[in-house]
């Protein structure tokens, strides 16, 4: 809840980031900033290093060179204690949900609450109920196991777990991949609403053009190891850069744009 911020402060600052897998250069001198309260999307063709970039931002992978600051902390110089504390302020929605298959949905959402707070079991159960309500999961899904859920419900449950601790910064890896159009639209609305109520900053990796038009504030396009362009969808859809144009001005890109316009 940060409505009093006059000047948007940077939440993520990436400077001269370089990543290599062996001799293959994935990221070649990438720099960008994500501001507090915005929804920043990273797009790019398959293999352009979107997921790697995400892994580096959530401290699952170290870049070869360059610096990443998340919530003011330099990830290359962060200690064990500090990184644990930082992780608690981040929520991550993994591409396939990554819910613990041995636990029910309710237990999954309760995991971070049990680990990191001293709330009573009853209070935790109530909070879990609230989060389930926020992601619009029916009450009877709380006692189900992840393999009993449909793809859309799985994503919602995983999102509820990601926001269990009221994080400041939420990472979404392909949140709408594999969902039907109705579920996609519903999830998009949900993400926007959560961002608004909880004052979240959201970084998402996605392929979904409709989702980009509906949700994203600014979009960064990765290609050839570089960050080709950063801007709003309107700006990008008028871009001259051949790779960006290919991505956004193909028939699917135009269709998504028209739809987004019609909806307004």
């Amino acid at each position: 809840m940060r409505f009093d911020d006059k000047i948007p402060e940077p939440v993520i600052e990436i400077r001269h980031l370089t990543t290599r897998f062996g001799s293959a250069v994935i990221h070649d001198d990438i720099s960008f900033t994500v501001l507090r309260g915005e929804i920043f999307a990273v797009v790019g063709a398959s293999g352009s290093g979107k997921s790697t970039l995400l892994q580096e931002m959530i401290m699952l992978r170290r870049p070869e060179s360059g610096s990443i600051h998340v919530l003011g902390k330099d990830l290359s110089a962060i200690g064990e204690r500090e990184s644990m504390e930082l992780r608690r302020r981040l929520g991550v929605l993994f591409q396939h949900g990554a819910l613990f298959s041995a636990l029910t949905v309710a237990e999954n959402i309760a995991v971070p609450l049990r680990e990191h707070t001293q709330l009573s079991a009853e209070f935790i159960r109530e909070i879990v109920g609230i989060k389930l309500g926020w992601v619009r999961l029916p009450a009877n899904s709380a006692e189900k196991y992840p393999n009993q859920l449909s793809g859309g419900m799985l994503k919602r449950a995983a999102l509820a777990r990601a926001i269990a601790l009221d994080p400041e910064l939420v990472f979404l890896d392909e949140p709408t991949a594999g969902l039907d159009p109705a579920s996609t639209a519903a999830l998009d609305d949900l993400i926007r609403q959560l961002k608004y109520i909880l004052g979240l900053t959201i970084v998402m990796v996605t392929h979904d053009l409709d989702s980009l038009w509906n949700v994203a504030g600014r979009v960064g396009v990765l290609g050839d190891g570089k960050l080709l362009e950063v801007g709003t969808m309107e700006e990008l859809s008028r871009s001259d850069h051949p790779l960006v144009a290919e991505y956004f001005q193909g028939s699917r890109g135009r269709g998504a744009k028209e739809q987004a316009w019609n909806r307004r």
Binding site: M1, S101, A102
Partner: protein
């Protein structure tokens, strides 16, 4: 956000009763402070009655837990007939509290645990389903195996030889070593009993019969169940989770023919060979002890071995091996096919597979003893 440990010592939030009966709330009403605030509220609110005023202008930040604490305290007070007026709530906090009461309350409830009779019923039902499932699996795979034996060109030789190597050839060192050690252990026990009576040469009968008839086939089957049976379950189970088994079916390939038949056939060939090899190392283990503890030399041992141990003893032991092999392979594969959905399920069925196959192997071993006795080639017949 601070760590829960530090805030437990020095809370950065408070709820205190003023002299005029107003409850002043201040600080960070956040998750880390909620346990503390909950206690404070309980103390303060127990005493008050009638109309209450909560002054919330001192609250600097609020998250879901803080908002829920407010919401939940209010509804509890209202249930006991008291009314509360919130004052000085910042717009964004009010919104959060409202959103929680709209979205949350309906869902928060006690999870229902099934009763004992319910659980018993489920367990019995599942067990009988599993039993039926296994029976039909045995039937189906028998048909497939018979079809393959009639038409051996359909046998998938590549997976067959791969499984023969993985389950047979690569098991030789461990089976040989363990059987050698079992021979040592058995001979030791015998040596202790035989030496005082000067009956040292009977070590040959003792070791020969015990190892060839019982110990070696059993120990080999147990090792194979642990090595190959579990591997089969894990492999087929993982293929089920990743829908590879379904993909096979849609391509018109029978998983029983491609996945299971080669495994069963490979073990049927491998386990008797392993048993024969383990017979050699096991008896050798006994010979080593006979020589060192009882002064029965290798030559004397082997001379007597020839005259007191019959081919029947050896054949009975090796003859059990293919039966054990079929049991292990069938249970391993069946449990693999039972896997559904999750990684946890793979682990559970792998355990079940090993435990069940060792159990059934031992049951069959006991049945063999009874059966052989009836047939007149049991131990007492000699």
């Amino acid at each position: 956000m601070q760590t829960a440990i530090t805030t437990a010592r020095s809370p950065t939030a408070s709820a205190s009763l003023d002299s005029d009966g107003t409850l002043s709330c201040a600080g960070a009403w956040k998750m880390a402070n909620v346990p503390f605030l909950e206690r404070q509220l309980a103390e303060v609110l127990g005493t008050e009655s009638g109309q209450q005023i909560w002054d919330m202008s001192g609250i600097t930040s609020m998250d879901t837990a803080g908002a829920w604490l407010v919401r939940r305290s209010l509804s509890r007070l209202e249930q006991t007939g008291r009314r509360v007026e919130l004052r000085g709530v910042r717009a964004e906090f009010e919104q959060l509290i409202r959103w929680i009461s709209d979205e949350g309350e309906s869902v928060a409830g006690q999870p229902q645990k099934p009763g004992m009779i319910d659980q018993l019923g489920h367990a019995a039902w599942n067990a009988s389903l599993q039993g039926l499932g296994f029976l039909s699996f045995v039937g189906e795979s028998t048909l497939v195996l018979l079809r393959l034996l009639v038409n051996p060109r359909r046998i998938r030789w590549q997976p067959f030889f791969y499984n023969l190597r993985a389950g047979g050839l690569q098991a030789i060192p461990i089976v040989g070593l363990l059987s050698f050690m079992m021979g040592v252990v058995i001979a030791y026990q015998a040596a202790v009993a035989l030496r005082p009576y000067g009956a040292s040469v009977f070590i040959v009968e003792f070791v020969g019969i015990a190892m060839l008839r019982e110990i070696v086939p059993l120990i080999t089957a147990i090792i194979v169940a642990g090595r190959s049976g579990s591997a089969y379950t894990a492999q087929i189970g993982t293929m089920k989770v990743t829908e590879e088994v379904n993909a096979m079916r849609t391509m018109g390939i029978d998983p029983l023919e491609l996945l299971i038949a080669p495994k069963v056939l490979a073990l049927v060939v491998a386990v008797p060979l392993l048993t024969a090899f383990a017979d050699v190392t096991g008896v050798f283990g006994g010979m080593v002890i006979a020589r060192t503890q009882l002064d029965v030399g290798f030559n004397a041992f082997l001379d007597r071995f020839e005259s007191v141990i019959f081919p029947t003893d050896y054949l009975i032991g090796v003859g059990k091996a293919p039966v054990f092999a079929v049991i292990i392979a069938m249970i391993g594969c069946y449990q693999g096919l039972c896997v559904s959905g999750s990684a946890e399920s793979v682990g559970r069925h792998t355990t079940v597979s090993v435990v069940q196959s060792i159990f059934v192997v031992i049951v069959f071993d006991a049945l063999f003893s009874v059966l052989l006795d009836w047939m007149g080639i049991g131990l007492f017949a000699q």
